[in-house]
Amino acid sequence: MMSQMIIANRLIDGLVIYMGPKGEWVDSIDKGAVFEDKQDAQRWLIMAQQAVEDSVVVDPYLIDIDTGGGENLPVGARETIRAFGPSVRTDLLEDAEGNGG
């Protein structure tokens, strides 16, 4: 089922964040609010703009989400990579002190 979420970068460290169910910002796509109604999503996006004004987030926008499998899965490579990180050398991301070049 196709729904929407609001994604942004957190101003202080640039990390990817999603708007949560109470308008708060969460760091995992699993915890983000899912909007099934497009008008509803637009209304929350206006609220996200307030977080821009308040210097909390940068560049919030709506993304399409497939919730059919019981998980919040972004549609398309770009948002999938933003949600789950680079698709390569994920070991480096977890273990910063891996061997080699």
Partner: protein
């Protein structure tokens, strides 16, 4: 190596202080993102897919072991333990925090590197031959002129807000390892009819969505007039460049539309006007800068070739590495060693903090504490004693820095692509890894010989796909990543742009397509002909047929 004087230190410290205030004002809400963005970009700070990315200039690619250790420290303390060397001889960090950036920049300033002008519409890091000062065929050390230009263009008030970014490269060798013809200004040293050293000046080259090979604007320019002439080119560009359309704002578009003759006329008028002023570089200043790049005190060493040959006979892997990764040094008994950051499964150009520290230690032990990074995303030890080569090789192996593939098909230039970059349409790194997995036979890679594969995740061409013998461009087709191949590109002294092969391919078909191209080349080449020469001789059709089959050839012609 150049060392900062009091003015350099003061300038950098003032800039960091200024940026610290700007960050503070941004975090407090005093500055909006629109106001802050050009300020952070002027210090090399981008906001990418996952976080802030900091691009740090490595002037002309020269790195001391002390700087490399600092790069490692920054990777650990401010990022996630690794960095990425780019095609502009820079290093990028992928997860820096805005609030920590001023401290990070202050740490980098301790070793005399900065992010100043690594982004923005200004003169970017001036790049050069990674063998500068160490190679036999060189007429003079290009780093001297890179440094003069760096000092002249950093925070130059007139050239801080150009219509678009501006890239300069300098080579002192007839063999072009710096891709000068793909730059806004390319400087190529040569001797005039009377034997005096000067520069051929090229202008209007570049890649991106409109790739153009630079044209010669002046056949020979005396070095003392370098600044005045570059200033004239920049001034004409600054005044005539388009600011209304980002895609038409680079100097290459202006030169192309105006024609090189008219552009030359305007530049010459300006040059004639200013060259009589105090714009000539005083000889004393050239000598002062030159002194920083004086060769180290080399030992008188016997030639070790015979003993190396014996070692090579006993160890095929060492022999392969010697053949591909070691270059001749201008001083007898020494060698230049390339450390490829292209091991299978690795991300081209990426290096961990641990490896950076190890490389710094090895540079101290084996390369007089100095190394380079080149535009093909590899590192270079420039002063290795031949007698030490075997010992160095044994230590590089466990670090995965001795992959014997320099200049071969698996030594790919690869931009960060959609795994990191906000502009990308497709991933580049997985394509490089697929190709690496496909071409595992070392003997076959040697049989293929010189063969460059360059991959970009979008038409901005950071992965230099236009000038790869095989170029790969990632495109987005209705949400799916596809890859457009080009053939026949080259960035050397005979630079050429690749020609489009045909319809874009899905990722899984790319390695087989390259295999088909390679097979066609091997079957068709004459004697020791390189792929590039075979392509130039026989043209596109046989390769197109090999990849798409005869039916598709008609469709994509």
């Amino acid at each position: 190596m150049y060392r900062y004087d009091e003015f350099d230190h003061k300038l950098v410290q003032e800039r960091i202080q200024q940026f610290r205030h700007q960050v503070k004002r941004r975090l407090s809400g005093e500055l909006t993102e629109d106001q802050f963005k050009p300020l952070r970009l002027m210090n090399g700070l981008y906001l990418q897919l996952h976080a802030y990315m900091l691009r740090v200039n490595v002037p002309y690619g020269a790195i001391t072991s002390r700087q490399m250790r600092k790069f490692a420290h920054v990777a650990r303390a401010y990022d996630r333990g690794f960095g990425h060397f780019t095609t502009r001889q820079n290093i990028q960090y992928n997860w820096v925090k805005l609030e920590e950036t001023p401290d990070l920049l202050a740490e980098l300033a301790e070793v005399e590197v900065t992010g100043i002008q690594s982004s923005g519409n200004c003169v970017r890091n001036i790049t050069s031959d990674h063998y500068a000062g160490r190679i036999k065929d060189e007429l003079a050390d290009p780093r001297i002129y890179c440094e003069l230009l760096r000092q002249y263009t950093v925070l130059h008030p007139e050239f801080s807000f150009l219509p678009r970014k501006f890239k300069i490269a300098v080579t002192g060798s007839p063999k072009d390892r710096a891709a000068v013809a793909l730059h806004d200004i390319g400087l190529r040293m040569h001797l005039n009819d009377t034997g005096k050293l000067g520069f051929e000046v090229l202008v209007g080259g570049g890649q991106g969505r409109t790739p153009i090979i630079a044209k010669t604007i002046r056949e020979w320019l005396p070095p003392e007039h370098l600044m005045a002439y570059v200033e004239a080119i920049l001034r004409v560009y600054n005044l005539s460049g388009r600011r209304d359309n980002i895609h038409k704002a680079r100097i290459k578009i202006i030169v192309n539309q105006m024609g090189i003759d008219q552009y030359r006329e305007l530049v010459d008028q300006e040059f004639d006007r200013i060259k009589g002023d105090a714009k000539g570089i005083p000889e004393a200043e050239i000598q002062r800068i030159k002194a920083y790049f004086a060769p180290p005190e080399y030992e008188e060493l016997p030639d070790f070739t015979d003993k190396l040959n014996t070692l090579r006979l006993t160890d095929k892997t060492f022999d392969l590495w010697m053949s591909s990764n070691v270059a001749e040094h201008k001083i007898g008994g020494y060698a230049i060693v390339n450390l490829t950051l292209k091991a299978p499964d690795r991300v081209p150009g990426d290096i961990t903090a641990t490896a950076m520290d190890a490389v710094a230690d090895l540079a101290d032990e084996y390369s007089l504490g100095e190394m380079r990074v080149n535009h093909r995303q590899n590192l270079v030890f420039v002063d290795v004693k031949q007698v030490d080569l075997h010992s160095l090789w044994k230590k590089l192996g466990p670090l995965e820095l001795a992959t014997p593939n320099l200049g071969q098909l698996t030594d790919m230039i690869t931009c960060p692509g959609l795994d990191y970059c906000n502009l990308a349409n497709a991933r580049s790194i997985p394509v490089a890894q697929d190709i690496n997995k496909h071409f595992v036979d070392v003997d076959r890679l040697i049989a293929i010989g010189d063969f460059t594969v360059n991959i970009s995740g979008c038409m901005n061409a950071c992965g230099h796909h236009h000038v790869g013998n095989v170029g790969i461009l990632g495109v987005d087709k209705h949400g799916t990543e596809f890859f457009q191949l080009t053939l026949g590109g080259s960035s050397d002294e005979g630079a050429s742009l690749g020609d489009r092969l045909g319809r874009a391919l899905p990722q899984e078909e790319v390695p087989a397509a390259i295999e088909a191209i390679v097979d066609t080349y091997i079957d068709t080449r004459e004697d020791d002909e390189r792929f590039l020469d075979t392509y130039r001789r026989i043209g596109m059709v046989p390769f197109k047929e090999a990849v798409y089959g005869s039916v598709d050839t008609k469709v994509v012609a």
